[in-house]
Amino acid sequence: MPCELRRFRAFERQLHTIFKIFPNSQKHIENNISKLSKKPRNGDRYPGFGELEIRKLRIPLKAYNIGKSKGLRIITIYVPEKNIIAPLVIYKKGNHGSEKDVKSLIMSTIKEVKEELP
């Protein structure tokens, strides 16, 4: 049974910015996001979250000749016991050594999502 896909406003904002930069890949990106409800276990899993599954999906942008390694990243939260998946962050992979930037983006997104949730 496909799981429920929740989309946060913070994620939608990031997605909107990505669409502006890569308009030719809009459909491809949307397809990948909607597939999440059928395949919530796609992507590499982060350790240390117990039964919660936090994963990173790598999306190539073929319309721009960008492969998986330089493509988009979507970090998802999958809660198996509730059968809910929520994409948290979407970003374009930067240069090597940009882990601090990614961490800041995640932290600011988490802050926005916490404000959005009841």
């Binding site: 350790p47 979250f49 090597h96 050594g97 932290m107 949730l117």
Partner: protein
Amino acid sequence: MGATRTINNFTNTQNAIHDCISSLSDNPFVDRLRLYRFLFLGELRGRRAMHATRQLWEECEQFCENGACATNTFERTKDIREAYGSIINRLKQSGILSDFWVQMLADSMSEWDELVEDCYIAGDQKIREDIKNIADLL
């Protein structure tokens, strides 16, 4: 058992890449041989280490909620990534290997960079707690 094997794979990869860097001389013929040796043996070890780590993380369930493995792996993966960067820079300057091999090393470096990023994020306690809180509210 899996964790011990993973750590051993990391140590082997670190040793292989640092041995390769320190053994590079000004003799292009000898350097080329050493680099080819690293490209076959060191790369194989590196890919094994990455695969074992991803597999271990895939299997981690309720018994692992502290992200200690990510914190422990972070420095090692970062060291390997920097070493790859160093080899690639030297190769670009010297031109002793063709672009094909340099690109192969650059691809490996990207994979290591990905692992560094994942370790850095998963090793952060604040992020782990916040994400668990969000999941509770879903």
